[in-house]
């Protein structure tokens, strides 16, 4: 339970004033043992709300060491992050949520913009997030692309700004391009298209996400790749498109295409590692997790491109001054390199590439970002060998992977209708 500790909270300014007064008092030689709140004050704690995937104990430990800030993780599922922001806005100090949740989070008025002038590296944030380009070339912007929901006209605005402003909705923490994960040892022949997800060849051995907003996009990628239909915008389907997509999914389900559905990162790892499933839409760190168990798993690049996602830090409107200062301090630290390098070793991409490069070993940078063969064994953050020397990253370099993004995770205008149809699919 949260107890209200407002009366014990001090901004840095009053803290300084307090210590100056104390120094004066001490110099005068009086009351040197008088207990003061400034000395008794505990390190500030930030309650960090996000999915379990984004919560690395090492980052919390390192932040505690460097900044003296205590990070308290609150781990919930993707859907629950959004639910909690809307229903319990006082229960966290920092939220790490996906950009696609913004169209429903922002109108609630529970999160506020981040002041770009307080973020040192704001203008160094990767261009794919800032304006949807990689190396000067536009990527696919179907769905809720971060570039479309990044700016706010003012700190407490509840609508997005059309152009670049001084207030950001979320500061990116991690982003990536998702594709199908496969077990190359259990699959014959090449897989090069999203259509493989619904290919009867993998009957009873495919899986799909039971997070409707993401699952339906994977299905749409597969259906479009199969040549059944083309979508206007896969991230914002019409009712007819939703009906057709769900009908195709129901047909595949009745034919026994799917082994299981999953909602949680760890479920997808278990399905793949146990061999229950040989092909499924996966998240990059899940592939890494399967590989660290010594089981071959490939993050297969596909000709139609990737479904991208991006996640970032947001601030609750109700945040207290002391926590707000600490949050900015933590975000600045997060962008300064160490955290970026840590996340890169799990296969994520970080907000600021320049500082990450400084923190990574040159051979690591070459493997993770330039698509070059590993000069030495590639290790995960906890020191386990991920790849032997000579291996190259699935999908190649940063520019190749992020440059081939076809669509972004999204919440549709017809979301309520879509969920009703999705429940129909589950019940079929």
């Amino acid at each position: 339970m949260m107890t209200d500790t407002t009366n014990q909270r001090f901004s840095r300014r009053t803290l300084l004033k307090g210590s100056a007064a104390l120094a004066g008092v001490a110099a005068a030689g009086k009351l040197s043992t008088f207990p003061t709140p400034a000395l008794a004050q505990e390190p500030v704690t930030l309650r960090y709300l996000s999915t379990a995937v984004n919560q690395s104990p090492a980052i919390a430990a390192k932040a505690g060491e460097d900044l003296g800030i205590n990070i308290e993780y609150i781990a919930v599922t993707t859907d629950d992050v959004a639910k909690r922001v809307i229903t319990q806005p006082n229960s966290f100090d920092l939220v790490d949520t996906e950009y696609f949740a913004l169209p429903k989070l922002l109108p609630s008025g529970n999160i506020m913009g981040l002041d770009a002038s307080k973020i040192k590296l704001a203008d160094k944030i990767a261009s794919v997030i800032r304006n949807g380009t990689v190396d000067g070339k536009k990527v696919g912007l179907d769905g809720t692309a971060p570039a479309e929901v990044l700016y706010l006209p003012s700190e407490q605005a509840t609508e997005f700004a059309g152009e670049e402003t001084g207030f950001l909705t979320l500061i990116p923490t991690t982003y990536n391009a998702d594709t199908l994960g496969i077990r190359p040892d259990l699959i014959d022949g090449p897989v090069d298209s999203w259509a493989a997800l619904l290919d009867p060849k993998f009957k009873g051995k495919a899986a799909i996400l039971n997070i409707p907003s993401i699952g339906i996009m994977d299905a749409a990628m597969a259906i479009e790749a199969r040549g059944d239909m083309t979508y206007g915008d896969k991230g914002n389907m019409t009712r007819e498109e939703i009906d057709a997509t769900i009908a195709a999914l129901i047909e595949a389900k009745r034919a026994g295409q799917f082994r299981a559905f999953w909602t949680d990162f760890n479920e997808s790892v278990n399905l793949m590692a146990s061999g229950e499933v040989v092909i499924q839409s996966m998240w990059s760190p899940a592939v890494t997790a399967v590989r660290t168990q010594g089981i071959p798993c490939k993050y297969q690049p596909l000709k139609e491109g990737y479904r991208a996602w991006a996640s970032g830090f947001g601030l609750p409107v109700a945040i207290a001054d002391r926590e707000k200062d600490a949050a900015y301090e933590f975000i600045n630290w997060f962008l300064s390199g160490w955290a970026g390098a840590h996340l890169s070793r799990q296969g994520y991409y970080p907000a600021v590439l320049e500082t990450t490069k400084e923190e990574l070993e040159p051979y690591e940078w070459a493997y993770w970002y330039e698509g070059q063969p590993a000069e030495q064994d590639i290790k995960s953050p906890d020191g386990k060998v991920l790849e032997k020397a000579g291996a190259t990253r699935d999908g190649g370099s940063y520019d190749e992977r992020m440059g081939s993004v076809a669509c972004w995770n999204a919440v549709m205008d017809e979301n309520i209708y879509m969920i009703r149809k999705w429940n129909e699919f589950i019940a079929a």
Binding site: T77, D79, D80, A82, K83, I86, T87, P103, K104, L105, P107, S108, G204, N210, P212, K253, F258, R259, A260, F261, W262, T263, S274, G275, E276, V411, N415, I416, I419, R420, W422, N423, E424, I426, A427, A428
Partner: protein, 321 residues
């Protein structure tokens, strides 16, 4: 049981008193305890019920008539949530609507699990009550039945997965024994897996009340049946089963209500491919559609209450206790 229930409480004794008093033609109190004490004794539980059961239920009922958007719920009085729950159910199409299909699937599991737990539970209880001779031994064996319940039911459920999987213990054993060539697929993430896990989890809920009822059967009744020339089977059907009906009913209520509302077991063992009302509600809550989730919850509650009402019509549980 009857005596311990009624003896200490004034409220419990009252109806009998009244009957006796009515015969005597005047009101006479037999207890020294003031009348309000009974209410005071019942008050804490009543308060807990009011706060944590009645109020949330009323709130759920009210919210089920509200409007909602992606990020807010608004007080209103609309019935669209209920029409959405039954969307397509009465349009006369050949396919079942989502809600009916979901309830039908749930009903199927209720029937399978009820029949299986009743069969197993009755047999286990019968063995404990009539074949084990000494009380210490009965208690020991009964305790052994409860040992699996010392762990969380999620763990008991998940431990089936490595056993039943495609490369699981059962399949590997069968393949290496040469009984089958390719692994059996329907062992996991199937109706079978769901039914198996549910039966495993809830059989004890049948054993306990049936065992309790059996222990209270007067042994001389059974002897009398034998003396009267009844066969073992006739004793079972004419003496034992009628006398353990309340136990069977209580066990059935437990099993039926739990299985109707279950979505965790169905989700995990069914690979999330099998619908359950709980899962539908969960999806809607995750997408902040509280009013329609509330409407679904009210419908589910109505179905469960109807079932219990129907079961109580079969056995007058108050008379039997």
């Amino acid at each position: 049981m009857t005596k311990t229930l009624e003896a200490p409480a004034d409220a419990g004794a009252a109806p009998q008193d009244k009957r006796r008093d009515a015969a005597a033609g005047r009101v006479r109190r037999t207890s020294w305890t003031p009348r309000w004490v009974a209410y005071a004794q019942a008050a804490p539980m009543a308060l807990v019920f009011l706060l944590f059961f009645v109020l949330p239920l009323v709130a759920t009922f009210i919210v089920s008539f509200w409007n909602y958007t992606e990020y807010s719920i608004e007080p209103a009085f609309v019935t669209t949530n209920y029409t959405d729950v039954f969307y397509g159910c009465f349009s006369g199409g050949s396919a079942l609507c989502t809600t009916f299909a979901t309830y039908l699937s749930t009903l199927k599991f209720v029937a399978i699990v009820w029949a299986a737990t009743l069969g197993i539970g009755f047999t286990v209880a019968y063995f404990l009550a009539f074949h084990v001779r000494t009380l210490p031994m009965q208690i020991t064996l009964f305790m052994i039945c409860t040992i699996p319940f010392w762990t969380s039911n999620v763990i008991r459920m998940i431990s089936w997965i490595p056993l039943l999987g495609r490369n699981g213990l059962v399949n590997e054993t069968l393949v290496s024994a040469g009984l089958i060539d390719t692994p059996i697929e329907w062992l996991l993430y199937s109706d079978f897996a769901v039914a198996l896990a549910l039966i495993h989890l809830y059989t004890l809920f049948m054993v306990v009340p049936i065992f309790n009822s059996m222990m209270r059967i007067d042994r001389s009744l059974i002897e009398a049946a034998y003396d009267g020339g009844a066969s073992g089977f006739q004793t079972l059907t004419n003496v034992i089963i009628p006398l353990v009906k309340p136990g069977i009913l209580i066990g059935s209520i437990f099993v039926v209500t739990i299985v109707t509302g279950d979505y965790l077991t169905i989700g995990i063992m069914g690979g999330q491919q099998i619908a359950s009302v709980g899962k539908v509600i969960q999806t809607q809550i995750n997408f902040l559609q509280f009013p329609i989730a509330a409407a679904n919850a009210i419908v589910l509650l109505a179905v469960v209450l109807l079932t219990i009402w129907g079961m109580l019509r079969l056995v007058d549980i108050r008379k039997e206790l």
